[in-house]
């Protein structure tokens, strides 16, 4: 790991100021993506701005039909929360399937979505549940947040403060985990929301995407049979040592059907 300066501000304003005053700063949340990449010298920031001392970034609030989760809230805080489990069980399930127990005791939702790994789980919830991402500058619709592989709508130095999830009528998340890392080879969130059906896929492509054809089919018949025969083209999907694109295309259908069956109860 290259040397860096370390800062631990206690307010969002101080964090943003420290960030913009440094040469090449990075925010640090749970550190479960950033520290491994710094160890490999894939990242070598001049300054680390640790967000974990900012209390306003932490915690879960259920407000009416919304669940609002602070950016610094750990995966296990979401997975083991009785409130989240009661309001949006699919979200608790998704968080409880990230990595392993020790990873879930450090990794946070804000770090996960800011990082926008193509195989991360949370993007499927942000898009699949129609969430809104709150930052220190604005609100960003979940559908507009992820813009590419490891790319988001965040500007340089912008801080994710919270994510609000509208409570769906029903929803479920299913993934085919990489057996070693548990990252999603393919993960699908299926939800019936107040504003319609959503089917969001993570892991398969450079960035999370929705499948309009499946959403239309589910609107008239919410069952696994309804999406029989609907496929996604393999051309735009990822191929790597874990799975070839055509296998990922196949898994999209399988995971979507499992998620529909689970959501249908």
């Amino acid at each position: 790991m290259y040397a860096f300066k370390f800062h631990k501000p206690s307010s969002i304003e101080d964090a943003a100021r420290l960030f913009s005053g440094a040469d090449d700063a990075r925010y640090l949340s749970g550190g479960h993506t950033l520290l491994p990449s710094m160890k490999l010298r894939l990242a070598g920031p001049s300054d680390i701005v640790d967000l974990s001392g900012i209390d306003s970034l932490k915690g879960i609030k259920v407000e009416g039909d919304k669940v609002v989760i602070g950016a610094g809230t750990r995966h296990n805080d979401v997975a083991l929360s009785a409130e989240v489990r009661a309001a949006i069980p699919a979200l608790a399930d998704l968080a409880g399937g990230i990595g392993d127990f020790q990873v879930r005791n450090r990794g946070t939702i804000g770090g996960s979505i800011a990082n926008a790994d193509p195989s991360a789980d949370y993007p499927a919830a942000i898009v699949g549940l129609g969430a809104t991402v709150h930052t220190n500058k604005r609100e960003i619709a979940g559908d507009d947040f992820f813009t590419g592989m490891f790319e988001t709508a965040l500007e340089d130095g912008e801080i994710v403060t919270a994510v609000s999830f509208p409570r769906p009528k029903r929803a479920a998340y299913m993934k085919f985990p990489n057996p070693a890392s548990r990252y999603a080879v393919v993960g699908v969130m299926v939800a019936e929301t107040a504003s319609g059906m959503r089917v969001a896929v993570t892991g398969a492509a450079p960035s999370v995407f929705r499948i309009a054809e499946m959403e239309q089919a589910l609107a008239s018949n919410f069952s696994a049979e309804a999406i029989e025969g609907i496929t996604v083209p393999a051309d735009d999907l990822n191929s790597d040592m874990h799975a070839a694109a055509d296998y990922r295309a196949h898994l999209v259908g399988v995971m979507a059907k499992r998620a529909i069956a689970k959501a249908a109860g």
């Binding site: 790991m1 290259y2 040397a3 860096f4 300066k5 370390f6 631990k8 640090l28 550190g31 479960h32 520290l35 491994p36 710094m38 160890k39 680390i48 640790d50 974990s52 296990n76 083991l80 990595g99 392993d100 127990f101 020790q102 990873v103 005791n105 450090r106 070693a180 890392s181 548990r182």
Partner: protein
């Protein structure tokens, strides 16, 4: 160099380290607590598992400075003097280790499981150990040890 202070196994400790020093290296090299192991250094194996404010974490994936002010328990803090903790006895009785390299991490991880779930099923134990790798035992006797520990601890870790 910055100074970092934390409570380790009930004792206040502090030391100087570089900003980039990992918690596991601070524990091993500055404090001499070499029971916490480094197996992979890539956040996969769990040999470096310690408890921070009661939660099991991989201490190779945390900066020492991030533990400022924290309460830390390492494997050295599990026994009561010369009396082994029930889970340590259970690993010994059930041949839950061979080379022993993964054992401190396995025990710290299992203690966190038993805190959340005093009577875990075999499947729950295996699921919980996803973040702990063992190259020797085939896991079977580790699972047996944790089941025995749960019984011996009578649901009160």
């Amino acid at each position: 160099m910055p100074t970092v202070s934390m409570t380790v196994n009930g004792r206040k400790m502090s030391g100087e380290c570089e900003e980039r020093t990992l918690l596991v290296n601070f524990l091993r090299e500055n404090l001499g607590l070499t029971g916490t192991h480094v197996g992979c250094d890539t956040s996969q194996c769990g040999a470096c598992c310690v408890h921070i404010n009661g939660d099991s974490v991989k201490s190779c994936t945390m900066l020492a400075l991030q533990a400022e002010g924290a309460e830390i328990t390492t494997i050295e803090g599990v026994a009561d003097g010369d009396n082994l903790h029930a889970i340590q006895e259970a690993f010994r009785d059930n041949h839950g280790l061979q080379c022993g390299f993964c054992t401190p991490g396995m025990i710290m991880s299992a203690l966190d499981l038993l805190k959340h779930n005093a009577n875990p099923s075999e499947a729950e134990i295996r699921h919980h150990l996803e973040g702990n790798l063992c190259r020797c035992t085939g896991y079977h006797n580790i699972v047996k040890s944790i089941q025995a520990a749960a019984a011996a601890m009578g649901g009160t870790p």
